[in-house]
Amino acid sequence: MKRINALVLILVIGAISSGCVQVKPWERDLLARRDMGWEPDTLEAKREAHIYFSKEASMPGGSGGGGGCGCN
């Protein structure tokens, strides 16, 4: 039984360790694509964030307190 546990542990660690692979600096070709970004359109994202924090009377952006003067 203990042997099976050890084997399972090894297999689990083996499976998890495959996630240790590091993306090399020269392998960022696909990651550098615009559509791989969290926000494909930076300008649009900034505009939306501005509308959001103005409406929510919060500053800065979607987090943190303060603001509400309507001047931002």
Binding site: R3, A6, I13, Q22, K24, P25, W26, D29
Partner: protein, 191 residues
């Protein structure tokens, strides 16, 4: 108290396995530094015409530049490198580039708009940056007439050209500006 034999303990076996796996997991990249010999490579040319060989330029000071079309600082560097190439005597100084785009079409499209007068190899699988231990894009190496790396430049921002020119000039005049290995090792926080 029951004492189990250490050689048969499954827990010990598991720990040993974890240790061995962690060794495999360790990602140790050896970056070449000033004083190291540049690996002599031959890679297909980006334009499909023949190969680009480093050994062909032995006897000249070589500026080796790793670049890709998706890397913004690389594209900033290219016009500057092209300018440097024309500033130094062709008999003494050679620029070689290694393109790392997975699809060479994008690189060729960039070069159509920004032509360069030096050869560029194509290495879509990235075996050459692995050999040199490139850890930042772009990275360039200044190699002396004997094939020894004398300066490593990581990243590129406007104004870096003057520093590079200084290093090239020093090497062309026979006073290698080589620093102690690791002297210009990358600091935390990429450019």
């Amino acid at each position: 108290m029951h004492a189990s034999s250490p050689s048969k303990s499954p827990t010990r076996l598991a720990f040993s396995a974890v240790l061995v796996l962690s060794l495999f997991c360790a990602n140790v990249a050896i970056a070449l530094e000033p004083g190291d010999r540049a690996p002599a490579f031959a890679a297909p040319a980006l334009d499909g015409k023949g190969t680009v060989e480093l050994s062909r330029y032995r006897g000249k000071v070589v500026y080796l530049d790793f670049w890709a079309s998706w890397c913004a600082p690389c594209l900033t560097a290219i016009p500057e490198v092209e300018e440097m190439r024309s500033e130094f005597p062709e008999d003494d100084f050679q620029v070689i580039a290694v393109n790392l785009d997975q699809k060479t079409k994008k690189a060729l499209r960039f070069l159509d708009k920004n032509p360069i007068g030096y050869p560029s190899a194509s290495d879509p699988k990235g075996s050459l940056p692995g050999q040199f231990g490139v850890d930042t894009m772009p990275t360039s190496y200044l190699i002396d007439r004997d094939g020894v790396i004398r300066y490593v430049h990581r990243g590129f921002k406007r104004g870096d050209g003057s520093k590079l020119r200084h290093e090239i000039r020093a090497l062309l005049n026979g006073s290698p500006a080589a620093k102690a290995p690791g002297a210009n090792r990358k600091k935390k926080g990429n450019r």
